[in-house]
């Protein structure tokens, strides 16, 4: 396993994962992940289908319980530092017929800062509008979200994440099903965020573009295959290890674990 030697020692580590194992319905999908993310990087998470990419970021935010190990966000638990994380879920995860307009959705990005009970103020609206402008969706602020194209929906989600004004961003396939114009607009925005010192972790599906988009890559296939600067990690051997040659034993054991668990209960 590669170690992240380039970690800034002075700053708090945005995301540290130690010996994390995650199981869905008692079937392990991630095994013993150890990870220290250096701050101020644009990092791509790549791996084949079912390799646990989404699961990894969902576990970081406590949406999926872990079976063992721990996660620290800027040195604290997720619960204490939730407001420092911005999240872009998969576009398919919501009902786009929901009765809200574009501005309503972006305003939700402010909810975390507001906390419970307090309502969004004028300032929050202003921030939301600025974020919409950054993703070039300001003219659509009053549009009902059902009347948007896939790319526009993704931009709205991105604007919502921007409105969170976080330090660490976790994005689940922001490039899936978007047009070329949106894709280049998004990558431009991600670089801009990185230049502001934010750390971005992006689940990515497309291998050819991964090389150009990200400074660092995290190769994942049920366990951490490699993590490091793109030029070091993006090579035939490691990609072969990630994509080729299914880890049959690991997935077979995972199935066995589930069968045993079912027999027990």
């Amino acid at each position: 396993m590669m170690d992240s030697s380039k970690n800034d020692s002075g700053e708090e580590c945005p995301l540290e994962i130690h010996d994390l194992t995650v199981a869905y319905h008692k079937k392990p999908v991630l095994w013993g992940i150890d990870l220290k993310i250096p701050s101020g990087n644009l990092i791509g998470i790549i791996g084949p289908n079912g390799s646990g990419k989404s699961t990894l970021i969902k576990t970081v935010m406590g949406m999926v319980p872990s079976s063992s190990g721990w996660v620290k966000i800027f040195g604290k638990s997720f619960r204490k530092n939730a407001c420092r994380i911005g999240y872009v879920p998969q576009r398919e995860s919501v009902d786009w017929d929901f009765p809200v307009n574009v501005l309503d959705v972006v305003l939700m990005g402010r909810y975390g800062r507001l906390g419970l009970l307090r309502r969004p103020k004028r300032d929050d609206r202003e921030v939301a509008m600025q974020c919409l402008d950054k993703v070039k969706m300001l003219p659509f602020a009053d549009r009902q979200i059902a009347n948007l194209s896939g790319g526009q929906q993704q931009r709205v989600f991105l604007a919502r994440a921007l409105a969170q004004e976080s330090d660490l961003y976790l994005m689940d396939e922001p490039f899936s099903g978007v047009d070329a114009a949106t894709e280049s607009a998004i990558i431009e925005l991600l670089h801009e965020l990185k230049d502001q010192g934010k750390t971005l972790l992006v689940v990515h599906h497309d291998l050819p573009t991964a090389k150009n988009y990200f400074d660092m890559l995290l190769l994942l296939n049920m366990r951490l295959v490699a993590f490091g600067p793109t030029e070091e990690v993006f090579n035939y051997d490691l990609l072969q290890k990630t994509y080729g040659g299914r880890l049959t034993i690991l997935s077979e054991v995972a199935d066995e674990v589930r069968r045993h668990a079912e027999a027990d209960s």
Binding site: M61, C83, F98
Partner: protein, 489 residues
């Protein structure tokens, strides 16, 4: 909606079981039979029992109307239905507590039964691979069956007959007593307060639970709070609407509101409004019909509101949609005839200014009987003028511009498909026939630019430009400018 169909069915079925349900209702305290007098009595609100009914059903409409939108957008409709049926054994237990209708005992019993029902659904869902709808369906039927058995037993008891417990099945707003009203107003106030305070939280957890979790909101807690409110509002509505139909009061007003608006807060307001209309309307109709059960009348009033929204909602209503479709078809039809006139004029190299009916009928491959009304329609819409003396059809400026634009769109699109998309030349026409009617000006300008302002289509025909369209019919410019367009005479 399913509930509406169920009314008739269950009413027929259970009236066999409990003849008292219908008969007891008929011998209510109301003896007058004249409809006008009854209406006046209700609307004037002088009668204290009428006042209580109106207050009760208004509160109920507010309560159900406020929760309904969240139930609808979270797809909990079936959960609401199950919960409402599952409380029936609890109602019976609450009654058996001291053998009389004690609203508090019934409230507690019903809430407990609802809770047990919800737990049963969760248990089935988590321990087996059955999906939620099956679990809900089974729990609904089982609890309802138990409830019916217990109710029948109570009816057979010496005091049970006059207990009024049967009114919990289909609802009787007039049977609400003061304690019922107090309970109802407490729950309504709580719902109103919580929805107002936690609107933001309810909204974000309903739209995107994953995101809500990521910002540290207690998603599960909010879900359970909503379920608890749902259960309470079902229980306090029972007396007025009845177990069988109470879920419709949660769903139908909200569904109608969903058809009318795109924003959650407006949906809440409309839903409350519809809930109150349905509640009070149902009570009114029940009152007019000598206190027949209120539940069915309320649900039917809500359904009437829903149907109105279903047919007439400006954006999603069936009739506005049909109307839009019709005017679209009409526009395309008109544009096609104008295009045919253009083609005839173009074939004659614009020597003539008008076309005859027979030329058009040959071009369109239709007989004169079909062509004539179409032309009269175009004349009425001011696209063409018809000269009766010459038996010819002439473009008006509007008609020319429309025809010319359509021809331009068609040829531009053919050229685009051939040059940029590399379609085979014989494939492009059919596609262009559709696209010509939808291209907008901005797209046309982009197309022109991308095709380097090429003036000929793949078949060698000239493509009209924006300038050509502005200038008007070529012959009109060259030969007889003064009489270029025939005036209507």
């Amino acid at each position: 909606m399913a509930a509406t169909f169920r009314i008739v069915f269950v009413l027929a079925l259970v009236s066999g079981f409990f003849p008292q349900v219908l008969e007891a209702a008929k011998i209510g305290d109301v003896t007058e039979t004249r409809v006008i007098e009854q209406m006046f009595r209700f609307l004037s609100l002088k009668d204290p029992s009428v006042r209580a009914t109106v207050i009760g059903t208004t509160l109920l409409g507010i309560c159900c109307g406020l929760l309904g939108p969240f139930i609808v957008v979270r797809r909990l409709a079936l959960v609401g239905d199950t919960l409402s049926h599952a409380v029936l054994p609890g109602v019976a237990m609450g009654f058996l507590w001291n053998m009389e209708k004690d609203p508090l005992a019934i409230f507690i019993g019903a809430s407990l039964a609802g809770l047990i029902g919800a737990c049963a659904v969760n248990l089935i869902k988590q321990t087996t691979h059955l999906k939620e709808d099956s679990a809900l369906g089974m729990v609904l039927a089982t609890f309802f069956a138990v409830g019916i058995c217990m109710m029948t037993m109570i009816q057979r008891l010496p005091t049970g007959n006059k207990s009024g417990i049967d009114k919990y099945l289909f609802g009787q707003a007039a049977a609400m007593n003061q304690e019922d009203l107090i309970l109802l107003s407490v729950v309504t106030t709580v719902v109103l307060l919580l929805v107002f305070l936690f609107y933001k939280e309810f909204l974000v957890t309903s739209f995107d639970a994953g995101f809500a979790r990521s910002i540290g909101f207690p998603v599960n807690l909010i879900h359970y709070l909503l379920m608890l409110l749902l259960a309470f509002s079902v229980v306090v509505s029972l007396q007025a609407v009845g177990v069988v139909l109470v879920s419709a009061m949660l769903i139908t007003p909200a569904a109608a509101a969903y058809l009318l608006t795109d924003r959650m807060h407006r949906m809440l307001i409309l839903s409350v409004l519809f809930g109150v209309v349905a509640g009070v309307g149902g009570a009114f109709l029940s009152f007019l019909s000598n206190n027949l059960p209120t539940g069915p009348f309320m649900v039917l009033s809500a359904t009437a509101v829903f149907l109105a929204a279903f047919f007439f909602s400006p954006r999603r209503g069936l009739i506005p949609r049909w109307w839009r479709q019709r005017s679209q078809t009409q526009r395309i039809c008109r544009e096609n005839i104008l295009k045919a006139i253009y083609h005839i004029l173009e074939a004659g190299e614009f020597e003539e200014e008008g076309v005859t009916f027979s030329e058009l009928s040959i071009r369109r491959n239709e007989d004169l009987l079909e062509v004539r009304p179409q032309i009269l329609d175009l004349e009425k819409a001011d696209f063409v003028t018809v000269s009766k003396s010459e038996n010819r059809i002439y473009f008006t400026p509007d008609g020319w511009q429309t025809a010319c634009s359509i021809v331009r769109n068609h040829r531009l699109w053919e050229l685009y498909l051939t040059n940029a998309v590399h379609y085979a030349a014989d494939h492009v026409h059919d596609d262009a026939e559709k696209i010509e009617h939808v291209l907008e000006e901005e797209t046309v300008r982009q197309l022109e630019k991308q095709l380097n302002y090429e003036r000929r289509d793949p078949h060698g025909k000239p493509i009209p430009t924006f300038a050509d369209i502005e200038k008007g019919l070529p012959t009109a410019r060259q030969s007889r400018p003064a009489t270029g367009y025939m005036s209507k005479s």
